[in-house]
């Protein structure tokens, strides 16, 4: 037999018991050829292109999933940043585009569509401004469209004007949607990547080909099981265990990406090596950190443990895939991770600790709920802090924060599904207002000037 029966049992055990799945197969579609000065023609172009390119996506992904026995949780679309495609158009047109994208996503049967995005790390065009100001209305009148704004980069510095603007967008979005669920679909980036398959930050970069298949792996449950099995090993041995497991998980991503790409005749882009947790019991990054010996995620030692986990996952994954890209780092969303929720409820982890953790992993303050009366300037300050970590360390950071109206510390916001439950976390009561209102752009750090 070409395979040891133990290998076969191991693989089946991974998918059946340890929640091994592919988190997402995302089809990136360029909309650059859809631009048109007439709004009706523009939306018609977008509609035509998306429906034609994405026609077989969902069915093909399902076929591959069944044939190879690997569950694939989500099928998604990513499009070119809409602020670029529709630059020059007004508020109403941007909302109309968001609705068109939403309809296309529904018709194609994809879970989410990312790319209602703007890249404004250095400055904003009129189109960027119109697009950012339309986000609250666009996301509150659609269900599948996700939006992102890149406000900083290592080469450009931090656009504080844009941060001030998006903080108000977040507050607006929270007011306009039930339990502020709209905020789950909006993320603010520093050093965003162009081939990220994960929602809400996915968009199809401007240097990407016409269409491309990107795959995001999952698998915290498998890593957790491997660590538990390793018992009282020292950290060097543990790193090795994680590496080996990450290799196997990534191989599944590589295989799924190749098979889907082959069947669709669309080039294979990248595998994103992010450990993405789900609210399912055992499929948690926080549980991994706790299995490594921490009493609760967030206690001293957490950042070091996370750094090791993140690094070992990358080392294992790099060998397993020919093209690694996207965000490629462990995710630490609060509401989507049962262990993380427990840590917040126990008071073991704070926004500040999460911020520290985001300097050693991908991507940042993700799915954190804060009291509804948190001022926009405080949210802007939180975004600026995250952006600073990303910019100076030459890495991606992000903020997906949910100021839930009317909710206070001790309560939580229920979203269900993969979005989970978000306990409200305390925020500093001291004001950042005067700093944020200065506006302008924080210059690029010297680390960005390495030519």
């Amino acid at each position: 037999m070409p395979f040891d029966p133990n290998e076969i049992i191991e693989t089946i055990h991974m998918t059946e018991v340890q929640h091994l799945d592919i988190r997402t197969v995302t089809l990136g579609v360029s909309l650059r050829d859809c631009a048109h000065p007439d709004p009706a023609k523009l939306t018609a172009n977008i509609r035509e292109k998306l429906l034609k390119t994405g026609e077989h996506h969902v069915r093909t992904v399902e076929t591959v999933s069944n044939e190879y026995g690997i569950p694939i949780a989500n099928k998604r679309l990513a499009v070119s940043p809409i602020a670029i495609i529709a630059d020059g158009h007004n508020h109403e047109t941007f909302i109309e585009i968001a609705r068109t994208l939403d309809e296309c996503a529904a018709e194609l049967g994809v879970d989410y569509l990312g790319g209602f995005s703007a890249l404004v790390q250095k400055g904003m065009t009129f189109g960027d401004i119109a697009m950012i100001e339309s986000i609250a209305d666009a996301l509150s009148s659609t269900t599948r469209v996700c939006s992102s704004v890149n406000v900083a980069s290592t080469r450009a510095g931090i656009n504080m004007d844009a941060i001030g603007k998006v903080a108000h967008v977040i507050k607006d979005l929270a007011e306009k949607t039930e339990e502020a669920i709209g905020c789950c679909k909006f993320v603010v980036f520093a050093n965003c990547v162009e081939d990220n398959p994960f929602i809400a930050g996915a968009f199809h970069g401007m240097s990407e080909p016409d269409k491309v298949i990107n795959v995001g792996i999952s698998g915290p449950g498998v890593v957790l099981a491997a660590i538990r099995k390793a018992g009282r090993a020292d950290l060097g041995v543990l790193a090795e265990v994680i590496k080996r497991t990450a290799f196997k998980v990534t191989r599944m991503g590589e295989m799924v990406g190749r098979k889907v790409s082959e069947l669709l005749g669309i080039p294979f882009g990248i595998v994103d090596l992010s450990l993405a947790p789900t609210p399912a019991e055992g499929d948690s990054v926080a549980d991994i950190l706790e299995a490594m010996g921490l009493e609760r995620c967030g206690c001293p030692g957490t950042t070091a443990a996370l750094m090791m986990l993140n690094d070992a996952v990358k080392k294992g994954g790099l060998m397993a895939s020919s093209y690694v890209g996207g965000l490629s780092g462990a995710f630490i969303p609060v509401s989507e991770d049962a262990g993380m929720i427990r840590a917040v409820e126990a008071g073991a982890i704070s926004l500040e600790k999460l911020e520290a953790m985001s300097s050693v992993c991908s991507v940042g303050l993700d799915m954190v709920a804060v009291p509804g009366d948190t001022p926009a300037e405080t949210i802007a300050g939180i975004i600026a802090d995250e952006a600073a970590i990303g910019v100076v360390n030459n890495k991606t950071t992000a903020v997906r924060i949910i100021p839930v109206p009317g909710k206070m510390i001790g309560q939580s916001a229920e979203y269900g599904g993969l979005l989970g439950t978000a306990p409200i976390m305390p925020v500093s009561r001291f004001s950042s207002k005067r700093f944020i209102l200065r506006g302008g752009r924080i210059p690029a750090p010297s680390t960005g000037l390495n030519n």
Binding site: M1, P2, F3, D4, P5, E7, I8, I9, T11, I12, E16, N66, E67, Y68, G69, I70, K248, R251, M252, E254, M255, R258, K259, E262, G265, P267, M319
Partner: protein, 203 residues
């Protein structure tokens, strides 16, 4: 041994002359390289020396690469070109796309000629477990290539490698039929393409 571009073009012309099919030079080079690799492998392995090479004539396998080249020049359709090309570069597909040339390496490494699936069944031991599954496979013309069973106290596990090339129904239907035995037998049955295991456990 590497053929020059001129030699490749010459072979391409002969193939075109004899079969009326114009092969893409790049595709042809891949085919020839593959044949040469196989011959080299055979020459380096005394056990199979002299045996009939899978993709070329008996003579060329015995006498080495130069003869193989001559044989190919003289009688292209009877040697490597057609057989080895049949999978990756069909003679009727003279213009392989850029992607297929990138994918070529992966196909060589990771694909076998057969479509095989792994069928695993686990559960409490009871009579007729193996018979029920193999009956479904026989009914649909699938051949079992390898089988392994273990019995640990009352817990029974059975793993089969099955070639489904001749299967009379599509994959989804086959899985459905196999899964239908689950309730009857009180077992869990898993069916996965062989590549899942190849990717995960082999480099």
């Amino acid at each position: 041994m590497t053929l020059s571009d001129a030699e490749i073009n010459r072979i391409s012309e002969i193939v075109a002359g004899q079969s009326g099919v114009k092969l893409d030079a790049r595709a042809l080079r891949r085919v020839i390289d593959r044949v040469v690799d196989q011959l080299n492998a055979q020459r380096g392995n005394p056990e199979v020396e002299g045996a009939t090479c899978e993709v070329s004539s008996e003579k060329s396998a015995k006498t080495g690469i130069d003869e193989a080249r001559q044989a190919m020049l003289a009688k292209p359709s009877a040697t490597g070109a057609e057989t080895a090309a049949s999978k990756n570069t069909k003679p009727g597909d003279p213009q392989p796309s850029a992607e297929s040339s990138v994918g070529g390496l992966y196909e060589q490494i990771e694909k076998s000629d057969k479509t095989r699936v792994i069928i695993a069944a686990f559960g409490k031991d009871r009579p007729g477990v193996g018979a029920a599954l193999t009956a479904v496979l026989a009914e649909h013309n699938c051949s079992i290539e390898d089988i392994s069973q273990t019995l640990l106290q009352d817990f029974f596990s059975m793993i089969m490698i099955v070639n489904i090339d001749g299967c009379t129904v599509d994959f989804a239907t086959l899985v459905e039929r196999l899964k239908a035995t689950e309730t009857k037998l009180g077992m869990k049955v898993y069916v996965m393409h062989e590549d899942t295991f190849r990717y995960m456990h082999r480099i």
